[in-house]
């Protein structure tokens, strides 16, 4: 039944797929390396690991891996990492050219752990982190198997699709290539081959075959054309790929960004998922096509546990996903080495293919999905706690025309008593698309405009894109040109492309001097007309090159250090944001937390701020896909994301806009945005009912800011994102593994926004713990839903189906204000939702909402707990913050008996204060009136 529904869903979705011109973007077939690697499905290549070559050090091991067809020795480096992870690197033993090792993605050099040689046999070696978490290296054919407490969890090259295109010199033109090669001629080019051949030919019975002609002569290896663009490929082929299978896992997630379901689909009948940062116009839904960002990380979900693979590579990467039917794939060797691990049943397999760079892979052994996330964010970092305004409501449009327009917009929000924290200015605010400048007439008094915003506690975000107008009077261009800061053409001249300003060049952020320069531009005495309340939006940083191949940079353009753009493409956008982040830190003397929105991203981008899902459209399908897109980003470390509310392109119908506000209010990054050619759609422009519904939706967001803020703080501590797929909290409930319409905020709120036109009811999946007794309370009515499975929920236009888990306590602030800053001292309402045992707990984090003082201990992080008639608030650590806020109301839902009396005692006082309360017997709801509990003290209430 559910399957049918999903099928129908897919069919319907395809109906309104339109817009993107697929012909502007490559298919695997049009990308020669992808095509070559995909062909290994039919003809597996032969590699052996020379186990005798094992060289074991304290925390790492080296083994030679040899391509028996080409006799090219590779080095496999195995590094044991702290926190249950292995890292492997593979590269030529004596490469003609150094391979690019991704920099800036890892938060720091990962902490290594001692490596234990558990077993050494002729045909395999077992290396362990401990006795359980271990890696088996099989010699012939070369293969890796990884184990954790759940048993056999990952296999690399089980299907023999490993293929490593070594750097080579171009021998001859194709037509002059002789029909046969022999090892001697090869060894002239690769001087060390002969030696290796001898070594390897002694041991394995596999004879050394002649070099494969086909490989050398395939088109696209030494140059490649796409449309009118030529890729000169001076270094020839350098790609590599391998299959990774996950025995016991029927679901894999991750590798954002794609407009697709959260659970990755089998791709064998179409193109693989593609990771290549591109500026895609009107992107297609439910598609593996590449979008603006790339995080080469997958998580595989088994019946209970999970494991992850982080494929650290910044070049163009394709990922095939396959549903493997049970049996036969993993050889009987497994039984031998794993002490009788059974044949794997149906499971998922992925095939990673990258065009260049180092093969650098992290195996994250979980064993649970949250463990994998912690391992991954331990490597690549977490999103630092944003300022409060950043998680409030943002109003954007391409474009607010001038300073009067900006004033008009926020005045109208005030007129309608709709909260608003941030107004955004798109490209038209600049002087002719010269970033770091203002249009001298339309924004003649940006400081005056800023004052009006700041007076209401509001902020402004201006756009700063990385394409620089080639205008000899533009100071940035003059500096970049004079200092050689631009990305270079193959002939060494500054590359010139076409973007918003017309002829443009692109600063090379791989050059540390460029990053330093970019950082300096944000200083208040350089970026004139800005104040501490101005924050930054880095758009078009894939980079977008209007006249480049696939609307981006040519792969043979050159970066600092001689790297080709091919090697580093997917990381460019992140480096732009990194420099901006440093700039915002520096301009405010490291006091205020930066806020930056970026469109392009890579593994690690979460450390700098928010990203959004790019240029979506005003269609129900785009609203629907926003949920799996944000979830996919969330489980790949990007905690702070959201889609344009209302849809960027086209005009939303009123009901779509309403539903989008309601959904957006419950996604981490909440911003409305619209294309230049759409009608104005600020919420104050609508009829009274619509205005009221949208006002309520935005106010719900603001009411929950204390909860969101706590979740973001906890994300910084743990790497667990605020917005979570259900299986992150209910890893054993397999019915949750493929849901795209429902999710959790933290572990306490279940959200199933209405994303269907004209819906009068929605089916909500309620997850449950093993006892199947989890209670979910409707946050508006306190109606309860118990147990696991689907329930139909009636919805009118006001209704946002949100449910609080029994057993949780959620802090809210129910007093609406014009902006979040103005709520700082407002009192809290605590909503205690009891589980079937009558218990509940939660956390609350409080600080000044804007500075880094929290890192010096100026905060309160408290634990709220209710059981057996006692509600207590206790500090979880040594953080202290003197805050004027207090508790004005406590609602306890699910309390079966009315207390006679309730007393409050605040730590450090002897008084037991009797509190007023009200009890609604029918709904079992207790409301404690004005307990006046301060949040900078511990306290407890006792029910009698």
């Amino acid at each position: 039944m559910r399957l049918n529904r999903n099928c129908l869903f897919f069919i319907l979705s395809f109906c309104y797929v339109k817009g993107v011109d697929k012909g502007n973007f490559k298919s695997c077939e049009q990308s020669s390396f992808c095509k070559r690697h995909r062909a290994t499905r039919e003809t597996p290549s032969a590699y052996i690991a020379d186990l005798k070559s094992l060289s074991l050090h304290k925390e790492r091991a080296f083994i030679d891996v040899i391509n028996v067809e080409a006799n090219i020795p590779l080095t496999l480096e195995i590094i044991a990492l702290h926190n249950y992870a292995f890292r492997i690197k593979i590269q030529e033993k004596n490469g003609l050219r150094k391979r690019y090792q991704v920099e800036n993605a890892l938060v720091r050099e990962p902490e290594t752990a001692p490596i234990i040689l558990l077993e050494k046999k002729d045909d395999h070696i077992v290396l362990g982190l401990d006795a359980v978490n271990r890696m088996v290296i099989q010699g012939n054919p070369f293969r890796l198997d990884l184990f954790n407490k759940d048993g056999h969890v990952i296999t690399m090259n089980g299907r023999g699709m490993f293929k490593f295109e070594h750097y080579r010199t171009r021998k001859t033109l194709p037509e002059e290539i002789p029909m046969e090669h022999n090892p001697e001629t090869d060894s002239q080019i690769e001087p060390l081959d002969a030696e290796e051949v001898q070594q390897t030919s002694e041991e394995p019975p596999a004879e050394v075959p002649v070099n494969n002609d086909a490989e050398e002569t395939e088109p696209g290896m030494w140059e490649e054309d796409y449309k009118s663009h030529h890729d000169s490929k001076p270094y020839g082929p350098s790609s590599f790929g391998v299959d990774l299978s996950f025995p016991g896992s029927n679901h894999v997630y991750g590798i954002p960004e794609h407009a697709d379901s959260l659970a990755l689909r089998d791709t064998l009948n179409g193109d693989p998922y593609r990771l290549y940062n591109l500026d895609v116009f009107e992107y297609e839904l439910w598609s593996p096509m590449a979008l603006y960002g790339a995080i080469p990380f997958v998580m595989a979900k088994g019946k209970e546990g999970a494991v992850g693979v982080y494929w650290q590579n910044a070049a163009e990467t394709w990922v095939d996903v396959r549903d493997v039917p049970g049996g036969g794939v993993v050889s009987s060797l497994m039984k031998l080495v794993s002490g009788g691990a059974s044949e794997p049943g149906p499971h998922k397999e992925v095939h990673f293919i990258s065009e260049s760079g180092l093969m650098d892979v992290f195996f994250l052994l979980g064993p649970g999905p949250k463990d994998v996330l912690q391992q991954y964010t331990g490597l690549t970092g977490v999103t630092p706690l944003p300022q409060m305004f950043a998680i409030a409501y943002h109003q954007c449009r391409w474009n607010y025309n001038d300073q009067e327009d900006v004033q008009f917009v926020h005045e109208n929000f005030d007129k309608e008593d709709m909260p608003l924290d941030v107004i955004w200015l798109d490209i038209e605010h600049t002087d002719n698309k010269k970033y770091f400048t203002w249009d001298p007439i339309k924004f003649s008094d940006s400081l005056g405009m800023m004052k009006n915003l700041s007076d209401k506690g509001r902020k402004l975000v201006t756009i700063v894109d990385p394409h620089i107008k080639r205008d000899s009077n533009y100071f940035i261009h003059k500096d970049c040109e004079a200092n050689g800061f631009y990305i270079k053409d193959t002939n060494g001249k500054d590359f010139e492309g076409w973007c918003w300003p017309g002829s443009s060049s692109y600063p090379d952020f791989f050059n540390p001097a460029v990053r330093e320069y970019w950082k300096e531009q944000y200083a208040f005495d350089k970026y004139h007309g800005t104040t501490k309340d101005v924050y930054i939006w880095n758009d078009m940083n894939e980079p977008s090159v209007f006249n480049g191949p696939e609307v981006t940079m040519h792969k043979d353009k050159l970066h600092h250090g001689g790297w080709e753009h091919r090697d580093v493409h997917n990381i460019y956008g992140m480096l732009v944001v990194d420099s901006t982040f440093q700039g915002l830190m520096a301009r405010g003397e490291n006091k205020l937390r930066p806020f930056i929105l970026s469109r392009s991203f890579f593994a690690g981008s979460q450390r700098y701020g928010a990203i959004w899902t790019g240029d979506n459209g005003a269609e129900w399908g785009h609203l629907q896909v926003s949920i799996p897109m944000v979830l996919s980003l969330s489980i790949a470390g990007m905690a702070f994301t959201g889609g344009d509310v209302g849809g960027f392109f086209k005009n939303p119908e009123t009901d779509l806009l309403i539903r989008w506000y309601q959904a957006g209010a419950y996604q981490p990054f909440f911003r409305a945005h619209a294309h230049e050619q759409t009608r104005r759609r600020e919420p104050y422009l609508y009829d009274e009912t619509t205005k009221d519904i949208i006002r309520q939706a935005i106010r719900q967001r603001y009411a929950l800011l204390p909860y969101w803020y706590t979740l973001f703080y906890e994300n910084e501590k743990t790497g667990i994102p605020p917005m979570r797929p259900l299986w992150l909290e209910y890893p054993k409930d397999s019915d949750t593994f493929a849901l795209d319409d429902v999710y959790l905020l933290g572990d306490s709120l279940l959200v199933r926004p209405v994303t269907e036109s004209k819906a009068t009811s929605v089916k909500v999946y309620f997850p449950s713990d093993e006892s199947a007794m989890t209670i979910w309370y409707d946050v508006e009515t306190y109606e309860t839903f118990t147990g696991r499975g689907y329930k139909s929920i009636e919805v009118d236009m006001y209704k946002i189906p949100v449910f609080q888990r029994g057993g949780s306590i959620i802090p809210k602030k129910l007093r609406p204000r014009r902006s979040s800053v103005l709520m700082q001292h407002d009192p809290y309402t605590l909503v205690v939702a009891l589980d079937e045992e009558g218990k509940a707990s939660g956390t609350l984090y409080i600080d000044d909402g804007e500075s880094f003082d929290y890192r010096e201990g100026k905060y309160v992080y408290g634990h709220l707990d209710y059981q057996r008639g006692k509600l207590s608030f206790r500090f979880l650590d040594a953080g202290r913050y003197s805050d004027a806020s207090w508790v004005e109301r406590i609602i306890v839902a699910g309390l079966r008996l009315k207390p006679h009396k309730i007393f409050a005692q605040i730590q450090g006082t002897k008084d037991h204060v009797e509190l007023d309360f009200k009890y609604e017997a029918k709904m079992h709801i207790l409301t404690i009136r004005k307990p006046k509990l301060p949040m900078n003290y511990e306290w407890h209430l006792q029910f009698y």
């Binding site: 009608r679 104005r680 009136r929 004005k930």
Partner: protein
């Protein structure tokens, strides 16, 4: 003088306060309440929420906790999301603000009363605001008064104009029926006169045709004779063939004026050949050589009859009918081709030469023409009347407002220039935009309808169906009418793509002023 009166009024309140302190003070004690509402809050009783939903102890009023769903228990705090706080703002307009503004650190009431708990340093600037507001109100009142007077005049004009139009319309209607009758009558006469005319003309044309063909035959004969004579003259050796030698011997063929007739020049006249038979000469050679021969004749003999050459071309140099022309000539290619045609035609048939009508025919034709002219005159007049009628009818259909006050605007246009464009607004006609620095005018819309809200229909004029935007909708323009003494466009903008808005200040939007300017300041609580 007026200020003084307000102070006096305040004083009166103060006096009341002193007289019955208990009652009034208790009202004043409840923050955020207006005096009129204060009567609903009686401290001697429990308080019933104004929506009746709850009964609470009076001590719960303004205790910073929301008990009533309608927010009525917390008029002075921010506790209720839907409450309202009353800013007394003595000296200025008192008004309500949403509870969300209370104690948020921003001074919203000019008396600062909304920030009673935050310690925000609010300065009371109500009197300053009041003074300038009164100033403004006075000015506004003044404008309104003057504007309204003008509007009354417009109204007069409009009504007069409608009356005139109505009268004109009736006159024209009468004229129309008269002229329709005349037209019918004349049409009959015209048709009657045209029958004999047709017959007479047919007869005349037949005659003309016959004469023409006779003349053509004799012309051809004459030309052939002329050609033959020329041939004989040119064919020096009389062998019946014209050779280049013979041509070269004749200086008249020296085209480039170098004193010699070259072989090329000769070849040109022989149509590219070296010789030419008599037959060929008659067909082609003569045409080429004739102008030169004529030239010679002019020198040698008296001028022939000039009927052949059209007078307009008499003074021109001979044309080179075919072959190479230099570039300068090509520029005039078209015109010269016309000349050529006419030249050739004139060889065959002199167009301007027609056979004059015989007196009888002439009379019939004249009569018919007179009848036709009379008919056409009637028809033209009828159409004129109909057009005038339609114009009046259309213009009477326009909604010029309940008092015809907008009528005088019709037929006028107003312009506004900003950084990039000059906007034009012609009420009841169209609106347009043209780039300031050259470029063509774009229609933003044509008169559609009044589009103000129900209670103020005439506040917005909608102009629609303008030029289609590229890849977008048809342009439209909304013009907001506000009261002013002159008719001026104050601003023009494009808030949505292809949807324009203008603010038009005009006496037509001035409502009748009421009372004194001070009445524009609401001081309901003073």
């Amino acid at each position: 003088m007026k200020k003084l009166r307000i102070y006096n009024f305040n004083f009166a309140i103060l006096v009341v306060t002193l007289i019955c302190p208990e009652n009034v003070l208790s009202e004043l004690r409840i923050k955020g309440l207006s005096a009129t509402r204060a009567t609903l809050y009686d401290p001697s009783h429990d308080f019933t929420c104004l929506d009746g939903s709850e009964k609470i102890p009076f001590s719960y009023i303004n205790d910073d906790y929301c008990d009533c769903k309608d927010g009525s228990d917390e008029p002075g705090t921010s506790a209720c999301p839907n409450g309202m706080f009353f800013c007394r703002n003595i000296g200025y307009r008192s008004h309500y603000i949403p509870s969300s503004r209370v104690n948020d650190g921003i001074c919203d009431c000019c008396d600062g009363s909304d920030e009673w708990a935050t310690g925000t340093n609010c300065t009371n600037n109500c009197y300053e605001l009041g003074a300038s507001a009164r100033e403004e109100a006075k000015e506004k009142h003044d404008i309104q008064q003057r504007g309204y007077q003008l509007k009354l005049q417009y109204s007069e004009q409009g009504k007069q104009s409608r009356k005139e139009k109505q009268e004109k319309f009736e006159i024209l209607q009468r004229e129309r029926s008269e002229i329709e009758a005349v037209k019918l009558e004349r049409e009959a006469l015209k048709e009657a006169a045209e029958i004999p005319e047709k017959e007479a003309l047919e007869k005349h044309r037949a005659m003309e045709e016959e004469i023409r063909s006779q003349r053509q035959a004799s012309e051809k004969q004459k030309r052939d004779e002329e050609a033959l004579a020329a041939f004989e003259q040119l064919d020096s050796n009389q062998d019946g063939v014209l050779t280049s030698d013979e041509i070269m011997a004749k200086p008249i063929f020296d085209q480039n004026g170098d004193g010699l007739v070259s072989e090329e020049e000769a070849k040109f006249f022989l149509s590219g050949q070296t010789e030419m038979t008599r037959e060929e000469f008659l067909n082609t050679g003569f045409v080429l050589m004739k102008p030169y021969l004529t030239h010679e004749e002019e020198v040698a003999s008296p001028p022939p009859s000039s009927t052949v050459t059209p007078p307009a071309e008499g003074g021109e140099l001979p044309e080179i009918p075919e072959g190479e022309t230099d570039e300068e000539e090509e520029d005039f290619d078209h015109g010269e081709a016309d000349h050529d045609d006419r030249t050739e035609d004139s060889e065959v048939l002199p167009v301007e030469e027609t056979l004059p009508y015989d007196p009888e025919t002439q009379k019939i034709v004249d009569e018919a023409k007179a009848a036709r002219d009379a008919y056409n005159e009637a028809d033209r007049r009828l159409r004129e009347i109909e057009r005038d009628l339609k114009n009046i009818e259309d213009s009477m259909k326009n909604d010029y407002g309940p008092e015809e006050e907008f009528s005088p605007l019709h037929g006028h246009c107003f312009e506004f220039t900003d950084r990039e464009y000059t906007y034009k607004f012609c009420p009841f006609d169209y609106a347009s935009q043209r780039p300031k620095h050259g470029g063509s005018e774009t229609r933003l819309g044509q008169w559609g309808h009044w589009a103000g809200p129900e209670n103020n229909k005439y506040s917005i004029m909608m102009l629609e169906k303008g030029v289609q935007c590229w890849n977008g909708p048809q342009r439209s323009c909304k013009v907001h009418f506000t009261c002013g003494v002159d008719n001026v466009i104050m601003s023009a903008s494009e808030p949505n793509r292809c949807e324009y808005e203008m603010n038009f200040v005009t006496p037509t939007a001035c409502a009748p002023p009421t009372g004194s300017p001070d009445d524009l300041l609401a001081h309901d609580e003073l």
